[in-house]
Symmetry: C2
Subunit: 303 residues, 2 copies
């Protein structure tokens, strides 16, 4: 069966997403407060609000719904994952990293607020992510809070996103094997995407079978995301992407396209999609339509 | 009673600290692993190991011992507080912030490893702090894990350390009132110091009276630390400090000394010490000698 045509005809991802993202935006609006001192809140809000695909929140919420997770926990985890993503973009765009001036069609945070404020805004967004995961009161059980902090910290840290970015830095101008490239992307992008799925799972109590299947889904979908990113960097224009196109080649960064070529990269993305879909089928979970539709969206997107 | 002479004669802070710091160093050695990808682990270890007064870990451990807290939780909280402190120094020293090249008598992280790696090492250290607080297994109860994550995130974030640094940035070249200066320092340095005390408290189950007293102790001691820092920036030399002396004045930053003068700043530090000591006396806790001795050390230190 071709994974591209296997979506449940009755599932409307656009409507499903719109409903959930309205709540995600409302929560982010409330949690990323403008009145943090000395303009810091303004820079944090600029980095987070009104932009982005919100893929990580959607993955958290879809996974949590698949395991019938605690809704309060899931919404917090969804927003926390997005805050980590947003902070990583702020720091990644800084002159000492990728030195990018355009993000989501707007000036990057350091261009708008200065480098020092961008650095602090990123730092504060990371702290806020963990603050959101550990609320007072009993809306989220303490065991869930602790599990979510553990998963997010691992996904963000030296064995996750930050580690992947260190490999990325070190790889500029170097030829990587496919195995090395996969490890870099697995950490740099995949860890937080898979982590988002697993945070959603941690909002409920999935069977070992479902847990393992969701981990496989997250790994395949996370890697597929990056393969497609590499493809779009070559094939799309900056206006469609909302960020600078062609910058991997300009910065002499190894990518799936530079390693495998465009056609084999496209085929690889479809293989990964098929793996993700197979994992869902093996999960034993009654309704994984949203996760399924999100994986298809990840692979077939044009920005 | 003069707080300077009220220490319990029988308490040996040096021996107490040495015993605890041996374990803190061993834990940090184990948790800040060298094999993080692409040199990131090396930069993280350089930032954390073999340096610093370890005041925050000592405060966590002293407070936890005062409330007979869970020792596993306290050691994790002690190390997590130090990781947050270490990351803040790495970022604070970067060219877009204080642009400092000397720290603890050694080249700063960005001088040694480059700005991009310094940025990532700081980011990864923050994530690692939360990872350490949320271990798998049941050595630390989930409720304690969640409380520690909450306290550390607040102390580090926009209403704590990061917020204080934003005020610091914005205040260069401006005259502040004492109230504004106090707010800046309360956030920038005080939040994590007080947070360390409260994390120690959260490792046990103090009475409301003890909890409130420890909060007052932490607030007074945290502010005293910064007043003394401002004094030492003027009176000590770089070799004694292990960092660049006189940089507040050189960077035209408002300080207690620039606002109150040297003598009134010294008197203010002693007043804050007396407040901290009074709070301990009002705590109802049977043994607060370590906390008492640490407050005296903070105020009477020469580096």
């Amino acid at each position: 069966m071709d994974a591209r045509v296997s979506a449940d005809a009755g599932f409307d991802l656009r409507a499903w997403s719109a409903q959930r993202l309205a709540l995600v935006e409302k929560c982010l609006e409330g949690w990323v407060v403008a009145d943090a001192p000395a303009g810091l809140g303004e820079a944090m809000r600029y980095a987070v609000l009104d932009g982005g695909k919100r893929l990580r929140p959607l993955l958290v919420l879809a996974a949590s719904e698949a395991v019938r997770g605690n809704e309060h926990a899931a919404m917090r985890a969804a927003c926390a994952a997005e805050l980590i993503h947003a902070y990583s973009l702020v720091h990644d765009d800084m002159p000492c990293m990728d030195n990018d001036i355009l993000r989501r069609g707007k000036p990057t945070v350091h261009v708008k607020f200065g480098q020092a404020q961008a650095l602090l805004a990123g730092d504060a967004l990371q702290a806020l992510a963990f603050e959101i995961l550990a609320p007072e009161g009993d809306s989220v059980p303490a065991a869930t809070q602790a599990a979510l902090c553990r998963l997010l910290a691992r996904a963000a840290g030296h064995e996750g996103m930050a580690g992947g970015q260190a490999i990325d830095l070190a790889s500029v101008g170097h030829a990587l094997t496919e195995e090395q490239l996969r490890r870099m992307h697995k950490l740099k992008t995949g860890a937080l995407l898979q982590g988002s799925v697993m945070m959603g799972a941690a909002c409920g109590a999935p069977s070992a079978q479902a847990h393992e299947a969701l981990a496989r889904y997250g790994a395949a979908m996370g890697l597929a995301f990056q393969v497609v990113d590499d493809i779009l960097d070559v094939t799309a224009d900056s206006a469609t992407l909302g960020k600078t196109a062609g910058k991997d080649a300009a910065q002499d960064k190894p990518t799936y396209v530079s390693l495998l070529g465009l056609e084999r990269s496209r085929a690889h993305a479809q293989e990964l999609l098929a793996l993700a879909v197979d994992a869902l089928a093996a999960s034993g979970l009654p309704d994984t339509r949203a996760l399924h539709a999100l994986a298809m969206m990840v692979v077939n997107r044009d920005n």
